[in-house]
Amino acid sequence: MQLKPLKRRKAMAHQQVKFYQTGTLTVGNRLLDAENRTVQGTMDRSNSLDSGHRACQGCGEALGARYAIDTAMRATDNKLIACNATGCLEVFTTPYPETSWTIPWIHSLFGNAAAIGTGVAAAMKVKGREDVRVIAQGGDGGTTDIGFGCLSGMFERNDDVLYICYDNQGYMNTGVQRSSATPGGARTATTMPVGPEPGADFDKGKNVPLIAMAHEIPYVATASIDRLHDLEAKVKKAMSIRGARYIQIFVPCPLGWGSAPAQTVNLARLAVESGIYPLFEGENGEITSTTKIRRKVPVEDYLKPQRRFAHVLKNPAQLSAVQEIADRNIRKFGLLEE
């Protein structure tokens, strides 16, 4: 006799995540030798972003920031200063008079995190403290929109700052509005699923990792919170290089995307495995590596768990437009093994 797995699973909210014992997607360190273990999986990680913060359940940004900053701390022997843009990460980590940051941290404005980073790095240089490294960080709104001028300035001057953009594809802190990183079709508070072309427009938006590469800065990478090893390796590599560096980390947002908190890591993986979010590295303007898709999935698999795309799934034209974007990414970045 057969069970009815679908319904029961749904009712019990089982996660559809395959846990790998080894390799890039592994979650534990059990079978790895010491040097291949993740920073996150070690007892002596710095906990730069400590517990007690006010992020939503299943927040991808909190995970991404924790992974990235702990790795950068390890890479710099704990000599790190972080400069934060206004946004979720800033708000949920520093509700006065508490702070979750165990590292020196400054928040100034929404649009100037990169410039603050430049200033801190300049101060470290004149003080002969170039062993102290600087990270600037923000969400996609603070990076690709309002902070873009300062970001581009920091890039072109090749200032010694690693800028990390936690990309959750919208202004989540202000109540889920569209940013220039919001994908076509997505429902946001300013791109509602109404009218003949529901959701965000398909012909708008910008690819900041590629724009960063056009500045010919020493290092650019995209990463996703579903693969800790890859993410940590990219941050570690970035910290081994001087000059302007940019990492954009894909961080699902349950609140803004209408997804279950337990789906955060899974969604990050499906975005990569469908080709929606290509992972690559670029050095001095050239792409130097891409992460191959293991098991290609149709974009529906990625869209389905997200309410922001509910209307897209019922709209064949929009659905094929999303699939086209994924297919183009696969071609452009060579995401499938030949």
Binding site: L109, G119, V126
Partner: protein
């Protein structure tokens, strides 16, 4: 040593003597010469141990400065006019975070219509941003006040704007006594930051503050500005001891004790006004405000207590109400029956002439002034434009019409 140099160059040399560690440069007329000269001083090695950063906007200029100051570096930048507005968000942020940045403002008007010439609308637009604002009369004072500004800023952990009239001072060449390094080192100790980003002692700077504490934080900013009312004269005294020059402290006065009419002003125009006073027979005193923020209410009130009338002469105004400085002076004079007239002059670089000042003084001593006077306003041009606007729905651009009426541009289009 007395040198015949441009005001901007003098300021650059003064800033250099203060051993700045980070300088953010973005060009905007009329402050540009200052950052240009500083660039050469850093690049040639005359300023040692200093990062000179060519940024992409004024917003970045002050933002980089916020970062460097918060990381413990003595930080300088300069701006003017539209640049001041473009960095406005960072202006408030620098003071809110309590960062002792020194910034020169080469005072210039604000558009539209775009205008590169001098008035004081730019500094005034940021008068309530929490910065200390010091207005200088001449280039010697510009040099001296920059050196004092770092000391004031670092003593209070508050940013300071040194406001100098664009072109009139920034581009004027006159004799300036530029101090030597030993004197400045004696006067200005190395910067010890009140709070600093340091991996050995991690702090979070710029955390969110809710309704439960915001009022108190803002009130302390106000209290600290009030403390500057004692500190500015004190630092001026210290400066006098070492350099032998007096920059005047909060206010300077000339013949205010025995004059019935006192003209109050700020910036370089005091030179013109004092000369015009000397040339005529009316007994008129003058008061110039050096510290506009904090505003020295007591000192002004006390200096003006014996006047029969006060004429506030200013190069800025608040559209929809009138004089900005005048409103502040009225607050100082509240409870007295001394009338305060306001005269708005020199907007967008309009010359302030001897002839107009003499007429103004004559009218003033007879109380023959309106509450608000726009000096040398061309009433015919204004009336004509207003009539045109009342008659025509599509009357066109005010600025262009007025230029055409004034014969400045070709009267191709007639209405």
């Amino acid at each position: 040593m007395l040198k015949q140099i441009e005001g901007s160059h003098g300021v650059a040399e003064a800033v250099a003597l203060c051993r700045p560690e980070v300088i953010c440069a973005y060009p905007i007329t009329p402050q540009t010469h200052i950052v240009e000269d500083l660039g050469a001083l850093v690049k040639s090695g005359k300023i040692e141990n200093c990062e000179y950063i060519n940024v992409e906007s004024e917003f970045a200029a002050l933002s980089v400065g916020i970062g460097s100051s918060a990381a413990g570096a003595r930080t300088y930048t300069a701006t003017a006019s539209q640049g001041m507005l473009f960095m406005a968000e960072a202006v408030y942020n620098a003071s809110g975070l309590g960062l002792p940045i020194v910034m020169t403002v080469g005072n210039r008007s604000i558009g539209a219509p775009i205008n590169i010439w001098n008035d004081q609308s730019d500094s005034m637009s940021m008068r309530d941003a929490g910065w200390i604002q010091l207005f200088v009369e001449d280039n010697q004072q510009a040099v001296d006040m920059h050196i004092q500004a770092f000391k004031i800023a670092e003593a209070l952990s508050l940013p300071v704007m040194v406001c100098m009239d664009g072109f009139i001072l920034t581009h004027a060449i006159e004799g300036i006594d530029v101090p030597d390094q030993k004197q400045v080192d004696k006067f200005l100790p190395p910067f010890v930051p009140r709070q600093v980003l340091d991996p050995e002692d991690p702090v979070s700077i710029g955390a969110m503050v809710g309704p439960e504490a915001f009022t108190e934080v803002r009130y302390i900013a106000h209290k600290k500005q009030k403390e500057a009312l004692d500190l500015i004269p004190q630092i001026n005294e210290d400066f006098k001891q070492i350099f032998g020059r007096d920059s005047g402290g909060l206010i300077s006065t000339t013949n205010t004790e025995d004059a019935d009419t006192v003209v109050v002003t700020l910036g370089s125009v005091i030179g013109t006004i004092e000369e015009a006073i000397d040339e005529q027979d009316e007994k008129i005193g003058a008061l110039t405000i050096r510290s506009f923020r904090p505003f020295p209410l007591e000192q002004i009130r006390s200096a003006l207590k014996d006047a029969k009338r006060v004429v506030v002469f200013e190069k800025c105004f608040a559209v929809g109400i009138g004089g900005i400085v005048a409103n502040n002076v009225r607050m100082a004079m509240s409870g007295t029956n001394i009338p305060v007239y306001e005269v708005i002059a020199g907007l967008g670089g309009r010359p302030i002439t001897r002839k107009s000042l003499h007429k103004l003084f004559k009218d003033a001593v007879k109380d023959n002034l309106e509450d608000v006077t726009f000096m040398d306003l061309n009433k015919d041009v204004v009336d004509r434009e207003l009539e045109r606007e009342h008659k025509l729905i599509q009357a066109g651009s005010v600025a262009e019409n007025i230029l055409r009426d004034g014969g400045v541009v070709n009267a191709a289009k007639t209405t």
